[in-house]
């Protein structure tokens, strides 16, 4: 059935308004879109890592989640999801559950790339039937923008500030999606919040309705950490994909497919220019940082094109 944004938006919201996320935050948009990908007739259990999302969406006695939801710690969303999935299987077998439940886990890049990496890897390797959504905002935002392994090189974070001896973060972003693919999972994808959400919706649906572990990495900006005015979120994300900083692709049973190829690949500085976290890169004498960033994006893009050929 063809994707129709109007129709998708006409379904009852499963991530309710009234949560305490910032205006211009990608996480809330990610959650709404994620929940739109679950069939209205199906139930869901959301397993959330400690994060901005958790403290903003389930602050006692309020919850933004219309479905069942569990949070316990920062690093264990995938392990909790493993337990929920095992419980679902055994309770289904014993006739104690009649509904169809989809098990979703969601964490930020801190809870996914870093502290939650072990439990993510374990759950992916074991093959539990669940979908992990990472809302990657490129740093530990809940604690105030400390660098993570998802922070791009040269970005300013509170633990990688630019200074006389520093031009921001020293390392490139860890390629987590590729690492997850190496687990041999049936489905993994990179997407973001673009236009009519077709790309997100189709990947999320495919992930959720693929049997076995699936992974969706969502570039999901943070206005505080990236330093942009809330209304520029769509523009920044469009630039992220048109510069190939965040390529959109999916890997289905080991087959790589590019899902978006910019008509004209734009220079990476067009992405960087929109955000305060790269401001120092544009200072006289730091031109080389933009050149280096470009070289890295080009190299990764060529690699990806080869994989998708």
């Amino acid at each position: 059935m063809a994707y129709d944004l109007k129709k998708a938006l006409s379904c009852p919201e499963r991530f309710a308004p009234g949560h305490r996320l910032c205006a211009g935050c990608g996480a809330g948009i990610t959650c709404r879109a994620m929940m739109r990908a679950v069939d209205p007739g199906d139930r869901a259990v959301i397993c959330n890592a400690t994060s901005c999302l958790e403290v903003s969406s389930f602050q006692y006695p309020f919850t933004a989640w219309e479905d069942s939801y569990i949070h316990s710690a920062f690093e264990n969303a995938s392990a909790v999801a493993s337990g929920v999935e095992a419980a679902y299987k055994v309770m289904k077998k014993k006739g104690k559950v009649r509904d169809t439940f989809k098990i979703l886990a969601i964490g930020g890049d801190g809870g996914t790339y870093d502290i939650g990496f072990q439990s993510l890897s374990g759950a992916m390797e074991r093959g539990h039937d669940f979908t992990y959504f990472c809302y990657d905002n490129n740093a530990y935002m809940n604690t105030g923008t400390q660098r993570s392994s998802a922070t791009p090189r040269f970005a300013s974070a509170t633990t990688t500030p630019p200074g006389t001896e520093s031009v921001g973060k020293k390392q490139n972003q860890k390629d987590l999606t590729k690492i997850v693919v190496a687990h041999g999972v049936p489905y993994a994808a990179q997407t973001t919040l673009l236009g009519n959400f077709r790309d997100f919706h189709e990947k999320a649906r495919r992930a959720i309705y693929t049997e076995g572990p699936a992974f969706v990495n969502v570039l999901s900006p943070c206005p505080r950490g990236w330093q942009y005015p809330a209304e520029r979120l769509p523009e920044i994300l469009k630039m992220a994909v048109d510069t190939c900083v965040w390529p959109l692709y999916e890997v289905v049973e080991g087959e790589w497919h590019l899902t978006y190829e910019p008509r004209k690949k734009l220079p990476v500085e067009e992405f960087m220019r929109l955000q305060g976290r790269f401001r120092h890169c544009f200072k006289p004498g730091n031109e080389w940082t933009i050149e280096e960033a470009q070289k890295y994006v080009d190299k990764k893009w060529e690699e990806l094109l080869k994989l998708c050929r």
């Binding site: 389930f58 006692y60 316990s72 929920v84 055994v90 439990s119 374990g122 390797e125």
Partner: protein, 403 residues
């Protein structure tokens, strides 16, 4: 009809688990608890249980998976020891505060360092404030019986707390002893079905677990949890009474051994009680009024009851099989002494830390402790309140292996 068998503590616990047939078992191996999931894996392989057996990548994840499964509406279990229990630390608090009656078998083992695989209580004592109910066994029979009671205690509606069933690493976990097992059907009838009121997979309503509790709400949640632990005292005795009616073996918060007119007494836990009882018998034979209290339930701590048991004693030695590094005594001493603080006639009390990392505890040592207590009664002098027993003096050249 009971079945007479010969089993290790680990196999006794695994047998109890098989009979209960939990919904989810999440495992990660660590000595000396590893055999429990190994036995269980064979039950799964042979189709003797319906359990989903998840072989996770760490203890943090084994307990996290139990949290997910129990919240989803299942009975979830796991087992661990030592560093594994320490690695679960964060999730122990999550499980208890989310009021999930998971049952965790612990084969108690020393914590690093130096690294050591043998018995003491440094692992479980480090988690005494995690919010888990803690029940300790002297032998394999008690480990089995405690396990059979655990789910019902934890699942009691006004309790809803997770339970640690503790056995002594190697001493109980690995040694073969005679045991009376109960029939599978009798166990299943005793333990019953798990019927949580709310759970993630419930049809009628969704459930949200694990909120951010801001200052206006956090304290109420903690007080409710503290009340639940108080309620656990009643639940433990109720379940023990039903256990005695059903299977004929009697349990309480602690066992009083020849305490009826005891002037001096020892308070201790676990397998050491068997050794100390031999010393009590010997001294009683000689006409000495000595007794012992073996603490079975450490959380909730039966303070009032323990104080009542020691009424009439003139000197008491608490034996701590873990070092708390407080520089003034171990955890069992701290709790026992606190329990006695409002007694009208308090006994003199000393703490002896012993048996660390599997160091043997002997009848002779127990005799020495009683001799020390008699001297305290005779002289009125307590002497050192906190001391260690059984260590060599390396400064005096008391080295092992002739070094």
């Amino acid at each position: 009809m009971s079945i007479r068998d010969r089993l290790s503590g680990n196999e006794a616990i695994a047998t109890a688990m098989r009979q209960i047939n939990p919904d989810v078992f999440a495992m990660f191996p660590i000595t000396p608890s590893t055999e429990i999931p190994q036995y269980f894996a064979q039950y799964v392989a042979d189709g003797r249980v319906d359990t989903e057996f998840i072989t996770v990548e760490s203890e943090h994840s084994s307990l996290s998976a139990c949290v997910g499964a129990e919240a989803a509406g299942c009975r979830a279990v796991t087992a661990t020891s030592s560093a594994g229990l320490s690695y679960m630390n964060e999730v122990l608090y999550c499980a208890a505060s989310a009021r999930l009656p998971i049952v965790l078998a612990v084969a108690c083992r020393a914590l690093t360092g130096p690294i050591n695989i043998n018995h003491d209580y440094s692992d479980s004592m480090a988690e005494r404030d995690s919010g888990f109910i803690q029940i300790y066994a002297e032998n394999n029979q008690e480990a089995y019986d405690n396990y059979l009671q655990a789910h019902r205690i934890g699942e009691t509606p006004d309790v809803r707390l997770p339970v640690m069933i503790c056995e002594d690493g190697f001493i109980t976990s690995h040694a073969l002893e005679n045991i009376e097992l109960e029939e599978d059907e009798a166990v299943r009838a005793f333990v019953g079905e798990y019927r949580p009121e709310n759970y993630l997979l419930k049809h009628e309503n969704p459930l949200a677990v694990g909120p951010y509790g801001t200052s206006p709400y956090y304290m109420e949640a903690r007080v409710a949890q503290a009340e639940a632990m108080k309620n656990a005292k009643r639940a433990i005795l109720e379940v023990a009474a039903d256990f005695e009616r059903t299977f004929g073996r009697k349990y309480g918060f602690f066992e009083e051994y020849r305490m009826e007119d005891a002037e001096v007494a020892m308070v201790l836990m676990g397998s050491s009680a068997g050794t100390a009882k031999a010393a009590v018998d010997e001294l009683r034979h000689q006409g000495e009024k000595v007794g012992l209290v073996k603490v079975r339930v450490f959380r909730p701590f039966p303070g009032e009851e323990l104080a009542a048991a020691m009424k009439g004693c003139r000197a008491v030695a608490v034996l701590d099989k873990s070092e708390g590094f407080s520089a003034c005594g171990g955890p069992l001493f701290a709790e026992t002494a606190a329990a006695c603080i409002n007694m009208d006639a308090r006994p003199k009390m000393i703490d002896i830390v012993y048996g660390l990392g599997g160091r043997d505890f002997t009848v002779d040592q127990a005799m020495d402790v009683f001799a020390r207590l008699r001297r305290i009664v005779r002289t009125g002098e307590t002497g050192p309140v906190y001391s260690h027993m059984g260590q060599r003096d390396l400064r005096k050249g008391d080295m092992p292996y002739g070094l």
